[in-house]
Subunit: 913 residues, 2 copies
């Protein structure tokens, strides 16, 4: 087994595709150093493989046999290439020892620099560099890092709070600066640093009971061991858990010749992107510092200089660019940039150092970019023929695409502000506004032209107007599918829910959080994509939803995908927006949504009358009053979709949800029904249920009150018939929810067919195009899908409810335990966010198989919240769904996810061949 | 195809095994008449097959070709055997035309007697019988039946209410009697009847527009058609729906020579059972009337006489027996009884008629019997070597066995009282008592020595003491698995729930129902096996639960069954009862049940403290106080089971269920926690959930509060260790409920294993016998059963919850729609009563398959309410379960059902060979 891969001098044993073995950093260094078309100036070094890490942890922190010898042999080669000697007093070689995992784990593992500096090698380096201060600065850095990382952490020494060696050395350095009246580290002289190094070593001996090692090889092995040890460090373990990185991957260790950008004014160090990571602009972009080390760039003490004109920022208006200062080096760097992009066919993030006018490449990896940049780079690279459409589609993550669809908090501003609270990311994008505490205030303030954020314990349907008027909604309770979350997501509105840290006092109109108290009118900024709450007003960035880039990108996706994408829309406006985003139909029109929001007062009143009716006659009267409103509502939406299918779900929620809570509305209702308030309250109380989610709802309402189904179906067919007569295409798909049994469908479809006949006769028409189908949201429905498919022409999975019943998790009540489940890693994630493929998905699979067995052309869709979640979309694709349906603002995401699924499929097929 | 099967004269074309073709009646007549070892005196006749019925309905109510000729030919044969002529004026043959389905449908179809009586044949019959009154009485009966059944009903004439021909003729007869001053029909003279017949025929012509037919053949075909027509009559159709009899079975028609028991004192008619159907006593039992027709026996106008001494009742003390009156005929009848029993190897129900001293057998079928009789006959017939054990076990239905286990309302009394209301049969047997309206009154009155029935809107855990004190519980709301039902069934206590007709006023302490009002203290009688409510105090019959018969019968079952039977028991008393009934372990010990009922006040208080604790410290303090109570409770039950396995379920219900409702108890709790009442109410409110059934319960409590699991496991192991040290065997099985995911089990089993280690160390023991397992009650758990079986040593299906989640039916809320579902036939039955095999059962199948694939010896049981329901027990047997567990009083039922399943299995296997 080969444990060590060397690189340098225009050759390398490794390559980029060996990331699993060499880690990202090692593999890319090898690629840059050794690939025939690159052979870039990379300081020589070698990488110890991840296999050694695995061995190390499986064998009580020991190394495979022969490793020491192999490392020693490789050090010899490095010495030769660097033309220096490790421990050579006159011409010493210093090396860095760095971690490198298969997947980047920024800041989670350890690095030790300047390894090889000892009492013996210091004078030689001073002589060679002529810079005593530089050498002692390097030495004190080595002592600080080594004592902390190797001698304390990796050795498992547990220090009391604030008494760790790093903190102690920091304090010593602080005292030295104070003594000197020095403000910055750089104000310390060579002599100061020299003395400090003596103090450091004394303190190390005193605290850790061991001397700081003065043997280069001891330093090297100490550093290698510390990097492997850091793979099991607390931070790394918890990061892996969150990111889902398996423990068995391990880290590699790269040992590399140190080069120094702080050797004087002909030295520099910098980072660059082959294209602008914030816009995608196809120009070289980066910054550097003269006479500095890499960590100085990161630390941000000095303002970096732009590498070229294109990279100038407001802060660097006056600074000279690399192009100006060192034109030859810049030219070389630019040419390397071109070669690397052509080679990697992606935008890259580079690190370079210039030592005495000589350029070295220290790192290269695929560069992080924001959403707009990702889209633009993908499109540009297709035009440049670097990549083809399928690859371009894979280059943009759904989260990046989402950035284009909503205004967001300016990332720069967000990076410098600390959130006061964190909740669940329930509605996308960012928003800011003045705090209000009830729906009426939200409406009134918004009318007065103010931006407001509605802050509530939790919301209910009576808050709808206020929610609509607000820029965003923030609640203290509720989960990802709570009322606020569902409504906000449907509107594409920013929303943070379940923010338990809020202590809201609605009567006094104030909220306390994180030690501060906000009163009505105070500003708040929300990041709904990450669930963050900021006090005050942060700058925002506009959405790109109408941009040409987005349109082109989605067009590219559309050509590739097989899965159709529909939107969940309840109003003609939503329907129009959905069409604009490319929706190919409406997958869920919730008939009851006409009872929420704008213009709902009148129909809601009739609905309430219907609900509390006690006799068939009372109910029929209320239904007749309701009918024209319902017909108009349906007609407008069918019209907006111009013949694209519109799946209309018959009334679904438990009726009690609609019973008013306010005394005034109750009184009005009682009056109109000509019954006493007491009587009305009795009727309302009778509707209450122990577990309404599993109560009298959906098809069960249709079974017990056939006249309610009749009225709805009548409204659908009348609307369709009128449109057709007016020359407008219309195609309703009637969907029955909460079905567990084919006989329920027989019962309801008999009504549909009867009303269909009646409407045809009345209007003198031959047929009205339509489909009848069912929602699959009850576990039993999945099991008896064969029988359901015998009568239903389509299935649409309601994965919210299906998830509830399959887990026995009431989505309104998971708040009390889901956090613990996620913390303890008992669940891989919130199943209401991404479909649980092992459980819920298994039922879906059973359902699809049994359904399609009976009806080959069964149309199958999903209309739950998962329909706009990329992983779930991929799962639906893999099950052979006909379409997914999601809220209008998620349509682009679904389109992308569908296209990516199709690309993965064809890759998989190619791989099989 | 043969459509007509004749019998008579010692021969028959049909036989008993041809029931599907000839109906029960026709097949048994053929068997009696024609079987070589019987050849009984059966009046000659023939049966038209059920195939003709099917043809009749499939071909617009017409007959197969050639049927008329075949019937005519068979009539000729009957005439010859009867030595009479059909329509012969001097020696006329009269026949009966009767229905006969494969399965008895008593009173659901039609019968016409005396067919063949016409103007022409009347004088001949008068001359032959010398009894003009008898002949005209027969004639008026024929007209009444024929006009009603053939001319009106079968012809589809729809009469207005109260204007049907039958009612009109009844009124005419009433008028005739009034005119005469006659009290009874028999007070009318021959002349009166003669005149009445004239009036009848006029009225028939007038109302139905057709004359009453005077041709024998016309009468015969009219009657045959009417019987076939009655197969589709409303009553028959609805009866078939309820009983699950398929429409395509059809009815046969039997045409048979009439014999008359009302020909004078040498004539008689009677019914008999070959053994006593009320006790099973192996002696001939029956009653008869001299000079009477069959319908006179049924009508109950004259008191029947006993056929022998053994059949005397209180009413017939003075009457002469058949044995005394006609010793020769009795002897013949007795010998027929002996031969029939030997032939059929079962207790039979016989009908006979004696015409002028000559005995005729008119019917024979397997006799209905009550529970005690069924058990005794089965046991006796094994002793008599008539049948073997497997057959004997099949002879007793679970419902019959159940009769032995509970006191019941005297069936005789029940048959003469009309219930005032009907609810759901939630707890078995019968009970009576004085009405009380709250738990406190129930306890107080019971202490005062009174029998009470607790009447509530619905019950909750705070009613427990009152429920225990009451003879029975009656509620207006709730379903088969409501609190009242669950508790009552657990105790084997009579209970009727969901009796919506009750209008209860608890403040005024009265209940209105069916037009009457009962006040506190008024008597009420309940039949909990049928859900009936009677006003007043009806006589009762004691239970036989301790009888030798039951013991012997269960011993016979035990030898045959493969499925083990356990009991659900929460107290040492329940455990002891379960053992007495033959339970082989406890399948469900609900740890939280120590917080209900007797002696629960102290532990419940600590539990409540634990529940409303806000800090870990508060909770741990409360748990420490709770621990000794829990340990004592568990220890007593383990001890009672003497080493038989006891499955202990960790705490399951949502905690909010335990929060007190009364102000007084809340105040006490607040005081003991040293917090304000307001604060306590806040904490209690925070526990409330939207859908508690799918909320923070079961394993989810254990995950969020590991210390709660720790305390429970500690109590279990400490109790076990103490018993073992005391020399008592103990075997706990620790069961984690509401699991959806193997990681939940990892989490909880880690606690079990930790505590196990601790207890071993403390007690200085090597091992404590125990198993760890899980309840399967969440759909997802079924799907991931493979993974669960990787860690769990046993599964126990909680089919109550599994049914809830699989259907999305909250068992507390189905009341509002389940009735409509059953009425509309959308569901075959209440899935909370018998397992839904298509949905819930499918999940169980998947679970068993996946679980056993991973762990071959996985112990699988059921502990839901279905575990004591016979059909469900059979289903569990078919899935290869290890055991079923049910409430102690259902243990014998489960034992029987398990034995019957095993017998069916081996029959099936034999049939395959």
């Amino acid at each position: 087994m080969k444990y060590v891969y060397k690189f340098g001098g225009g050759k390398a044993e490794g390559k980029e595709s060996m990331k699993n073995l060499l880690g990202g950093k090692g593999a890319n260094l090898a690629e840059m150093a050794g690939h025939p078309s690159l052979r870039l100036p990379v300081p020589p070094g070698f990488t110890i493989t991840t296999d050694v890490c695995t061995h190390y942890w499986q064998h009580k922190r020991t190394y495979p046999k022969g490793l020491r010898e192999t490392v020693a042999a490789n050090m010899k080669i490095v010495e030769k290439l660097a033309e220096k000697g490790f421990g050579d007093p006159s011409n010493p070689l210093l090396v860095s020892v760095r971690s490198g995992a298969r997947k980047s784990m920024p800041g989670m593992m350890e690095t030790i620099l300047n390894v090889g500096l000892t009492e013996k090698t210091i004078p030689g380096l001073v002589a060679k560099t002529g810079n005593e201060r530089f050498v002692y600065d390097a030495y004190r850095r080595l002592i600080m890092m080594y004592a902390d990382v190797v001698m304390e952490k990796a050795a498992g020494v547990e220090a009391e709070e604030d008494m760790g060696i790093r903190r102690q050395l920091d304090r010593l350095m602080g005292e030295a600066k104070e003594k000197r009246g020095a403000k910055q580290d750089t104000d310390l002289s060579a002599d100061d640093l020299k003395k400090l190094c003596v103090l450091f070593k004394e303190r190390v001996q005193q605290v850790l009971g061991k001397p700081f090692p003065d043997e280069p090889m001891e330093q090297l092995w100490g550093s290698i061991g510390a990097v492997f040890a850091s793979w099991m460090g607390k931070r790394a373990v918890s990061y892996r858990r969150i990111e889902g990185i398996p423990e068995e991957w391990g880290t590699a260790v790269t040992v590399q010749t140190m080069v120094f950008g702080n050797m004087g004014d002909d030295s520099a160090t910098g980072v660059a992107f082959t294209r602008n990571p914030g816009t995608g602009d196809h120009r070289f972009y980066g910054e550097f510092l003269v006479n500095a080390q890499g960590e100085d760039v990161v630390a941000g003490i000095r303002t970096p200089q732009p590498i070229n004109e294109n990279s100038r920022t407001e802060q660097s208006q006056e600074a000279k660019s690399l192009e100006q200062l060192m034109p030859a080096v810049y030219k070389e760097l630019h040419s390397i940039r071109d070669r690397l992009e052509k080679h990697y066919r992606d935008m890259l993030d580079l690190e370079f150092t210039i030592e005495h006018g000589r350029l070295y490449m220290l790192q290269c990896r695929v560069g992080k970019r924001n959403g707009p940049a990702a889209v633009r780079i993908a499109l540009d690279m297709v035009k440049e023929r670097l990549i083809k459409a399928p690859e371009a589609v894979m280059r943009v993550t759904p989260a990046q695409l989402d950035e284009l669809l909503h205004p967001i908090v300016d990332p720069a501003a967000e990076s410098t502000h600390k959130p006061v609270a964190k909740g669940l990311p329930a509605g996308p994008g960012g928003a800011k506004g003045m705090v209000v505490f009830n729906a009426q205030d939200a409406v009134a303030w918004a009318k007065a032209g103010k931006q407001v954020i509605l802050v509530r314990e939790e919301t209910n349907p009576e808050d709808i107007e206020g929610m609509r008027a607000a820029q965003a909604i923030l609640t203290a309770r509720g989960g990802m599918t709570s009322h606020a979350a569902l409504v906000a997501r449907g509107w594409g509105k920013c929303c943070v829910v379940g923010c338990g840290a809020l202590d809201i006092d609605t009567t006094k109109k104030r909220v306390a959080v994180d030690g501060i108290t906000l009163a009505e009118g105070d500003w708040l900024t929300l990041n709904g994509s990450r669930g963050l709450v900021y006090a005050g007003s942060l700058p925002m960035r506009d959405a790109d939803e109408g941009s040409e880039q987005l349109r082109d990108f989605l067009a590219m996706c559309n050509k590739l995908r097989k899965l159709k994408v529909r939107a969940n829309a309840d109003t003609p406006e939503d329907a129009a927006r959905a069409r604009a985003f490319g929706a190919e139909g409406i997958g869920l029109f919730r008939i009851e949504h006409m009872f929420y929001g704008k213009g709902s007062a009148v129909p809601l009143f009739f609905l309430r009358k219907m609900i509390v009716s006690k006799t068939l006659e009372e109910r029929k009267r209320a239904l007749a009053e309701l009918y024209p409103h319902m017909k108009a509502d349906i007609k407008a939406t069918l019209q907006a979709m111009k013949g694209l299918p519109v799946t209309i779900r018959t009334i679904d929620p438990p009726l009690h949800e609609f019973v008013p809570h306010e005394a005034e509305k109750l009184a009005e209702l009682a009056k109109s029904l000509d019954i006493s308030l007491e009587d009305l309250e009795k009727r309302a109380a009778a509707l209450r249920e122990s577990n309404p989610m599993m109560g009298h709802r959906g098809v069960r309402l249709g079974v017990t009150y056939p006249e309610v189904t009749e009225m709805q179906v009548r409204a659908i067919f009348d609307a369709t018939a009128e449109l057709l007569k007016e020359g407008v295409k219309a195609f309703p798909e009637i969907m029955i929810p909460v079905v567990c049994n084919e006989k329920e469908l027989d019962d309801q479809f008999a009504i549909v067919s009867q009303i269909h006949k009646e409407v045809l006769a009345e209007k003198g028409m031959r047929t009205l195009p339509h489909l009848v189908g069912t929602m699959i949201e009850i576990p039993r429905a999945c099991l008896v899908s064969g029988r359901l498919a015998g009568v239903a022409q389509f299935f649409s999975f309601g994965t919210n409810d299906l998830t509830q019943m399959t887990f026995g998790f009431s989505r309104d009540d998971t708040g009390s335990f889901l956090g613990d489940y996620l913390n303890k890693n008992l669940l891989p994630g919130d199943p209401f966010q991404s479909i649980d493929q092992d459980g819920v998905g298994e039922l879906m699979k059973i359902s699809v198989e049994r359904g399609r067995k009976v009806r080959k052309d069964l149309k199958i869709g999903i209309c739950g919240e998962h329909g706009g979640e990329p992983v779930s979309v991929g799962f639906c694709h893999s099950l052979g769904f006909s379409y997914v349906s999601c809220s209008p603002f998620r349509v682009p995401i679904a389109i992308l996810a569908a296209a990516q699924s199709a690309v993965k499929d064809s890759k998989g097929k190619k791989a099989k061949k």
